[in-house]
């Protein structure tokens, strides 16, 4: 099984304790699977789970978006810039 690199930001990074994590990954899996695996592997993320956003190749991605291990993937809470 291949692995997927996921960048984490803000409170998601603080809770997971790392700015980037590696998840076991099969091509064809979706954003929904990513969120589930992430919170299984990093249970400290659970309080944030319902509000976590996923970006694939610099675009926001829905739960049914398919993710490949070559994609640039990031996971973070709702934004609060400005």
């Amino acid at each position: 099984m291949k692995s997927l690199a996921v960048k984490l930001f803000a409170r998601a990074r603080d809770l997971a304790g790392s700015p980037i994590v590696e998840l076991p990954w099969s091509d064809g899996e979706t954003v929904a699977a990513l969120k589930q695996r992430l919170t299984e592997q990093y249970p400290d993320l659970k309080p944030l789970a319902p509000r976590l956003l996923v970006a694939v190749n610099n675009n926001y991605a829905d739960d049914d978006c398919v993710v490949k291990t070559t994609d640039e993937v990031a996971c973070f809470p709702p934004v609060s810039g400005g």
């Binding site: 973070f76 709702p78 934004v79």
Partner: protein
Amino acid sequence: MISLTHNPIDYHALTESVRSPQSGAVVLFLGTVRELTAGRQTVALDYEGYPEMARAKLEELEQAARSRWPIDKVAIVHRLGHLELGDISVAVAVSCPHRKQAFEAGQFLIDELKVSVPIWKKENWADGSTEWVHPGGEMTKGE
């Protein structure tokens, strides 16, 4: 002109960059670190960004604004890192032929920036605690 910076924002240079004889109206918006938020006292904010995606989203915002208003020039800069009270966190400057367009486009850009550009702020409260700000749910104490 889109940029992210860890240095103080030079909004004067930013504003000069959008002025032109084709445009009778320039609107500049500055977001600054406010002392009171919902009655609690802030002493500083820390801004973190996802730089590649933030730049991409800001470019998209500029294009979206240009498709809606006859914009001459746009400049947006967001600061990252540690900001003290009164510091400028974001500056948006836009020039248009007429003032209504410039006001609308400026407001659109800052409104959309706040909902779609991956940047986060962490409050440093006067009592020494810190707290990530995550709209759409109650704020949760930072570790």
